[in-house]
């Protein structure tokens, strides 16, 4: 390096002499509000957890029989399907996508499992496996359209929602398989509807399944390279690609895995409702309910931020509101009123937390 050149450039920087030498130091935020913002930034599931605790305390105070084991197990039972669909929705939203077809995949998969058993005489266990594979394939179709053809997730899944739900009605000829027939001939389909009853409190297998899936996905997203790639893909896909993340592959895998979760939810539906019905309300409401759980759970719709545990809290909050307001004896419409307010609150908090960068 030549000293001449150095002095040349040194001259215009001479004014720096006497300026603070430290460059790019990181100062801890001083105010309490800033600290809170930073803490929430690092712990994205904290907001829904606080809301959940507050809701539990409020309803516990308002309704006498709220804190009974039976009430709490009923809440868990009622959110089992939404919780599993929420697992699917979480990984999709983390990639900055959205999946409007989760409910349709769930219903169609449950119908496939039932029809393959009863129409073709395939053993129920095998039908379940086939149903899970087909559900995964439906998700993968979403993923391929989004990753390879670069179509917006909202449009693709809006389309597949309609297509799969229509295919579901056409294939099943709008036929419901009765609960008693399933119990007699294909009990495996109803597996997740069985329960253990410690001390007279009924806990469905489905509840354990939901908690296990959330726990597994929390591990996968936090502690594996694939999980980090899901976050990176949602955060900044161009940057992730340059850093060596195969973002298209990740996207296809995410939507396929979401399809598998939806098919599992479809299997759980048979256990919960007893029958196999192509008109199950999950087909229309599943997507809205799972998106609600994800948003209230503090997962950013812009991708790359949030935790699946937050989604679980989000689903619980909805369940607690529904049950609590029913026990208090208000008009059930208040549930939706409050959930709506909570959604807006959650997104506002997300925006505020994101400002930590600025």
């Amino acid at each position: 390096m030549s000293n001449d050149a150095r002095s040349v450039s040194g001259s215009y920087e001479a004014g720096l002499k006497g300026a603070a030498e430290a460059v790019a130091e990181f100062h801890e935020p001083e105010s309490a509000l800033k600290k809170l913002q930073h803490w929430l930034h690092q712990t994205p599931s904290a907001v829904p957890m606080i809301v959940l605790v507050v809701a539990l305390l409020v309803f516990g105070a308002l309704a006498d029989n709220f804190f009974k084991a039976g009430t709490l197990s009923t809440i868990l039972q009622q959110i089992a399907i939404v919780g599993i669909l929420g697992c699917a929705q979480t990984i999709v939203v983390l990639t900055a996508g959205i999946d409007l077809s989760v409910g349709a995949i769930a219903v169609f998969s449950s119908v496939l499992m039932g029809q393959i058993t009863f129409r073709y005489g395939v053993p129920a266990e095998l039908s379940i496996v086939i149903g899970l594979i087909l559900g995964t394939a439906m998700g993968a179709l979403n993923g391929i359209l989004i990753a390879r053809l670069r179509l917006p997730p909202f449009i693709v899944t809006l389309g597949t929602w309609q297509i799969l739900l229509a295919a579901n009605f056409i294939y099943s000829a709008n036929e419901t398989i009765r609960s008693s027939d399933i119990a007699e001939q294909a009990a495996a389909l109803q597996f997740w509807g069985y329960s253990i009853n410690p001390g007279g409190v009924k806990i469905l297998y489905a509840v354990f399944l939901m908690i296990a899936l959330v726990a597994i996905m929390a591990y996968v997203l936090r502690h594996t390279a694939w999980g980090r790639h899901v976050y990176a893909t949602g955060d900044d896909p161009a940057a992730a690609e340059l850093a060596g993340v195969p973002t298209k592959k990740v996207l296809v895998q995410v939507y396929a895995l979401a399809g598998l979760f939806c098919a599992i939810a479809g299997w759980v539906m048979i256990g919960r409702f007893g029958s196999v019905s192509p008109t199950a309300s999950t087909g229309q409401l599943g997507n809205i309910q799972s998106i609600t759980a994800v948003v209230i759970g503090g997962i950013s719709l812009f991708g790359g931020r949030g935790s699946i545990v937050g989604m679980f809290f989000g689903a619980l909050i909805v369940g607690v509101f529904e049950m609590g307001l029913r026990l208090v004896g208000t008009d059930p419409q208040w549930t939706f009123f409050l959930i709506g307010a909570l959604i807006i609150f959650a997104v506002a908090v997300d925006q505020w937390i994101r400002k930590v960068a600025g």
Partner: protein, 258 residues
């Protein structure tokens, strides 16, 4: 001395536009080579061809005497060429350690790693901390801090540290000081010098003449899709270099009007 990286006759056309026109290139071991040129001269296409982001239509590239033909940046990276992009290619919401290992994560030893695919966070964090310390970046307190909570200079520092840590053969820096303030630029220039002192040759693309003249050993002047000349900063002034790259003047010994 043999060049560590050599290219001959690189050509890249986009429709009717010839971005690279029979371009040669040489990087010597241990040097900082600046690449300068006017906008549209094709220097970013040249860099992309070397880093695997663009596949040239014609021409050959040798790395360490071996002919190479990269189809993706990942292939170039595997061969030991690391690029710090102008956009930095970092995920803002993820931690410094996660970003440093993005796409080449370390897995835990034993069954936790092989079967459960668990990341070896302690080892990744230790490595990241070491690399940042080596480059004097330990004003960063917490290796698990999200990148978006860092200042521009710190982010650039982390990106340079990542490239220096993994770039075994060549480090390419695309406009590393363009988005930085005066003080932060100074810090990044020191970082670049540190990387050079560890024996890794650097290709520096920059518009900032004072920075180029301060830090480069040689300057590759790019004009109209090809190498016009290579000069030493002590032999010429900044205004000469600007005259060469804009075509206002021709360097001695170069007769052909490019």
């Amino acid at each position: 001395m043999e060049p560590i990286l050599k290219a001959r006759g690189l050509t890249k056309r986009y429709g009717k536009v010839t971005a690279l026109n029979d371009c040669d290139f040489e990087l010597m071991p241990g040097e900082i080579l600046a690449v300068i040129g006017d906008n549209g001269a094709g220097k970013s296409t040249l860099i992309k061809a070397i880093s695997g982001a663009v596949v040239p239509d014609e021409g050959q590239i040798w790395l360490d005497g071996q002919e190479v033909a990269f189809r993706t940046p990942i292939e170039a990276r595997a061969a030991g060429i690391e690029t710090v992009y102008q956009t930095l290619a970092m995920s803002p919401a993820l931690s410094i350690a996660d970003n440093m290992f993005m796409g080449r994560e370390l897995r835990a030893p034993g069954i936790m790693g092989s079967l459960f695919r668990k990341l070896d966070r302690p080892r990744m964090e230790k490595f990241a901390r070491e690399k940042l310390t080596e480059l004097g970046l330990m004003t960063i307190q917490n290796i698990n801090q999200a990148v978006e909570t860092l200042s521009g200079g710190q982010r650039q520092g982390v990106a340079v540290a990542r490239a220096a840590a993994f770039g075994s053969k060549v480090v390419i820096l695309d406009e590393p000081t363009a988005a930085l303030g005066v003080k932060e630029s100074r810090r990044v220039l020191e970082l670049i010098r540190d990387v050079k002192n560890r024996g890794i040759p650097i290709i520096l693309i920059s518009h900032n003449m004072p920075h180029v003249f301060e830090i480069a050993d040689r300057i590759h002047i790019h004009r109209l899709g090809r190498r016009l000349c290579v000069i030493k900063p002590q032999d010429y002034s900044m205004s000469d270099a600007v005259a060469f790259m804009t075509g206002a003047k021709l360097p001695e010994g170069v007769t052909e009007v490019a």
